[in-house]
């Protein structure tokens, strides 16, 4: 079966299962007795195994199978979960992930068979999970011998493969018989893909060759061939005294034969084959240059007994079939509701098209009024469609941050500092392209916190903090930005040390250094190759850190700021703009113009009697629930004529910018709306307006930049 078409799905689903395994194993470590978690893990491992098996990735299947065994035992309470087991399981996960990477790159699972890991798993089972844990933690990345010899075995197998006729299963009895024959030829016939009567063609072929000699062996069996139980090729061995060429000619006279591969064979070849049979090498259909077939015939694996495609030539055997195309497709998982919305809009589009078509077919003359209405309708639909597609591109940052708890756990072990990661706002959505590039910078900041931020347990105890350090990652939306805060409750940045280092590096003179503000000092950390680590570890400290983070984030149009308090920890704040984004906004009216205010920056909306306006330094303010809030006359700001109004109350939208509040006076509230932010093109550098949006009726509304107004 040709499974290459399922490869994308396989890759996608496998990543999903790996992630869920990883999450659940973390969970399991916390609550080793939670049977629900174990069941969940078991299910994921089982699905992984099943999928790998279906795709013919035998090594991956083997590994997952052994993992599943372990989970089975855990489920049956025969094995206890401890951190050593968790370590092994995570290593297995890494190995599976490696397989997946190899599959992505080459459509093949590669040669690594992870014997060492499998052994670890089985040892653990055998030892009932008692000890063995200590050693288990030792690097399992030493399958050097196992892996390599495995690879070579595969290689020699590959070289033996050649055309399919060499893989005809021959039982020893027949083999003896073959030895008695004078001259043997192996044939593989590829029948054209659109052939309807394959069995008939095969019959004609056999009839043609039987004029020359006797067919000794078939693959598939002659019965299966008669019943059409084969794909598009079949092989046989012919005993004859004739030359090869006339036979091939004879075969080619049969129509719908795509190509014929044939060569001399010897019984010994099949003997050898027999020995190797128990180790079938599963390779996905690879277009290999077949000797005689002019076009590279896609060769679906022929029979269940010989599940391999024609492998690369002997020489190429060692280099693991290099020609496979890398799988570069990138997929996205989309909430079904978003797709439904998209579907609805497409059906509306079809309705609109139909109504236009029926009008043009009808009277011949189209009423310009209706035509106009229809076109407007059409326009509206397409705009909505555009929005929906944009929405489909929005993905929660969960996909990048989900791997971090695991990473922190590993660092915990490596650095011998107990710590945990607390994450909030994983469902914050960002454009797919931004999310994709967010992983590295965030990972870097987290590593930084783990390595430099969190102190050693002893220091923490001395400072009166809980021994276990906390690293946090908070994501949320604020106005037109998504904010991601990464920080820790560690020692904070020692600005004195940074300053000394800067002086030492000659970046500032000692005199200048005295006058630097804290912020300026912290900015040194973002300079290229400025490292504070006393020693270089493989976690951080090479000095290629924060400057890369900064440039990566800036490339996405965002910025990074740092807050640090000595002894209490530091927080890196990553701010990313939502350029393509859709935001929730409050629509307000000022005279006859409509404006949008991002809902995220609105605190509340109040109706306030004019009599309550008070003055501070001759500026209008209101005093609301203990807070003094300056008033902003939006109409003045937007160059409207002052309104002659008789009303004695006003509508105030109270907005926040960081910690400051401001009350924006508007004429009318329209309502809440989800809007798509559009650029103003040439007018984009406007101070008060951060963009525009197109409303349902095609009208444009400006988006007020609250930060500039307050």
């Amino acid at each position: 079966m040709d499974v290459s078409q399922y490869l994308d799905i396989f890759i996608d689903e496998t990543s999903g299962h790996i992630q869920s395994l990883s999450d659940n194993i973390m969970e399991l470590e916390k609550e080793p007795d939670n049977k629900d978690v174990v069941n969940e893990i078991f299910r994921a491992a089982h699905s992984l195994k099943g999928m790998a098996g279906t795709m013919g990735f035998k090594k991956m299947q083997h590994l997952t199978h052994d993992m599943e065994n372990v989970f089975q035992e855990v489920r049956n309470d025969n094995v206890k979960v401890n951190s050593a087991l968790i370590d092994i399981l995570f290593k297995c996960l890494d190995a599976i992930e490696n397989y997946l990477e190899t599959v992505k790159a080459t459509s093949n699972e590669g040669d690594e068979d992870n014997e060492a890991l499998i052994k670890l798993l089985n040892d653990y089972l055998a030892g009932g999970g008692g000890e063995g844990g200590g050693e288990a933690a030792a690097p399992a990345e030493a399958p050097a011998e196992g892996g390599e010899s495995g690879g070579e075995a595969a290689a020699s197998d590959d070289s033996a493969d050649g055309p399919l006729y060499k893989k005809i299963p021959v039982d020893p009895e027949l083999c003896e018989k073959l030895k008695g024959e004078k001259q043997l030829y192996g044939f593989t016939i590829h029948i054209s893909k659109d052939c309807l009567l394959k069995a008939a063609r095969a019959f004609l072929v056999f009839k043609a060759v039987e004029d020359f000699g006797q067919i000794m062996a078939f693959n598939p069996s002659s019965g299966d061939i008669e019943d059409e139980k084969f794909e598009f090729d079949f092989s046989f061995i012919l005993s004859t005294e004739s030359e090869l060429d006339p036979i091939i000619e004879a075969i080619k006279t049969v129509s719908e034969i795509e190509s014929v591969e044939a060569d001399k064979v010897t019984p010994e070849m099949y003997e050898k084959k027999e020995e190797e049979a128990p180790a079938p090498e599963a390779a996905p259909a690879a277009a290999a240059p077949a000797p005689e077939a002019a076009p590279a015939t896609p060769a679906p694996a022929a029979a269940p007994a010989a599940p391999a495609a024609p492998a690369a030539k002997a020489g190429a055997g060692k280099t693991n079939q290099p020609a496979n195309k890398p799988v570069t497709s990138r997929t996205i998982r989309v909430d079904i509701e978003k797709l439904d919305a998209l579907m609805n809009q497409v059906s509306e589009l079809i309705i609109a098209k139909n109504s236009l078509a029926s009008q043009s077919n009808g009277s011949g003359e189209i009423d310009s009024q209706t035509l106009h209405e229809n076109i407007e309708y059409l326009e509206r639909i397409t705009t909505n469609l555009h929005e929906s597609v944009m929405k489909v591109r929005m993905v929660p940052i969960e996909s990048v941050v989900a791997k971090f708890p695991r990473m922190i756990r590993d660092l915990d072990r490596k650095l011998n500092k107990p710590m945990e990661l607390v994450m909030t706002g994983e469902d914050t959505e960002l454009d797919r392209t931004v999310v994709d590039q967010l992983g590295d910078p965030l990972q870097h900041l987290l590593r930084n916190s783990a390595d430099h931020g969190i102190e050693s347990p002893e220091d923490r105890r001395a400072a009166g903090k809980p021994e276990k350090g906390t690293i946090f990652l908070n994501a949320f939306q604020e106005g037109n930005n998504v904010i991601i805060e990464v920080g820790d409750d560690g020692g904070g940045i020692n600005t004195d040390k940074v300053r000394d280092k800067a002086v030492e590096r000659g970046l500032v003179t000692p005199e200048e250094a005295e006058n630097l503000t804290q912020k300026e000092i912290i900015d040194f950390l973002f300079m290229p190759s400025f490292s504070m680590a006393k020693q270089i570890t493989d976690i951080s400290g090479r000095g290629v850190g924060l400057d890369v983070v900064k440039s990566n984030i800036e490339a996405l149009g965002g910025d990074v700021t740092v807050k640090s308090v000595m002894g209490e920890g530091s927080t890196f704040t990553v701010r990313l703009p939502l350029t393509l984004a859709i935001i929730q906004a409050l629509m307000v009216e000022i005279r006859d113009e409509k404006y949008a205010i991002a809902l995220a920056s609105i605190m509340n909306i109040e109706n306030i009697p004019k009599s309550e306006i008070k003055y501070v330094e001759s500026k209008e303010v209101i005093h609301l629930r203990g807070q003094v809030i300056p008033l902003i006359h939006l109409d003045k700001l937007l160059d409207f004529e002052p309104k002659e109004d008789t009303e004695d109350t006003m509508t105030v939208v109270i907005c926040k910018k960081g910690d400051t509040l401001g009350g924006i006076i508007v004429d009318n509230l329209i309502g809440q709306l989800e809007i798509v932010i559009k650029s103003l093109g040439k007018l984009d550098n406007n101070k008060l307006i951060s963009g525009a949006t197109i409303l349902g009726d095609g009208e444009i509304a400006m988006i007020l930049d609250v930060n500039a107004v307050i």
Binding site: E379, L637, L680, G681, N686, E699, I700, A701, M702
Partner: protein
């Protein structure tokens, strides 16, 4: 010989211009800058934008700034009539921008020979013209698009 002939052809190659009317004058806009010509639709004011930007319009779901050429050239303010049009220009950066004209007259092919550089007396400092084309008796001022689009305030 053949080289010479080729050279001749290139010399005589004509460019197409859209002839528009603003005030009493005829202006030509190089057709290669033009994306589209649309009827006047609702222009939404953009607060705090330069005065000669009348605002933005919704062009097939895109927000496109619209400039008043009359305001840009210090002429009387626009009068919107049935024949008023917005000419959508393609910008170098890939964006679009509209300019309002009183009327679109015709498409005209002019060769280099038909266009004269504006004389120094005609060419004031805030000129957006880079030549005067002759079409029979009619004179057509050719717009220098880059100076219209450019943000530098006419001074």
């Amino acid at each position: 010989m053949s080289d010479l002939a080729m050279y001749d052809v290139v010399e005589k190659e004509k460019k197409q211009y859209i002839v528009v009317k603003i005030g009493g004058e005829h202006y030509g806009i190089d057709i290669s800058y033009i994306d589209n010509i649309v009827r006047l639709s609702k222009i939404t004011r953009v607060p705090k934008a330069p005065l000669y930007y009348r605002g933005v319009i919704n062009l097939r779901g895109e927000v496109v700034p619209v400039m008043s050429l009359r305001r840009r050239m210090d002429l009387d303010d626009d009068e919107f009539t049935d024949s008023s049009r917005i000419i959508i220009l393609k910008l170098d950066g890939g964006g679009l921008m509209g300019v309002i004209v009183d009327e679109v007259k015709e498409v005209l092919s002019l060769s280099e020979d038909d266009i004269e550089a504006p004389s120094s007396t005609l060419k004031s400092k805030n000129s957006f013209i880079n030549g005067v084309g002759k079409n029979g008796d009619e004179l057509i001022s050719i717009f220098e698009i880059s100076s219209i689009i450019g943000d530098n305030e006419a001074s």
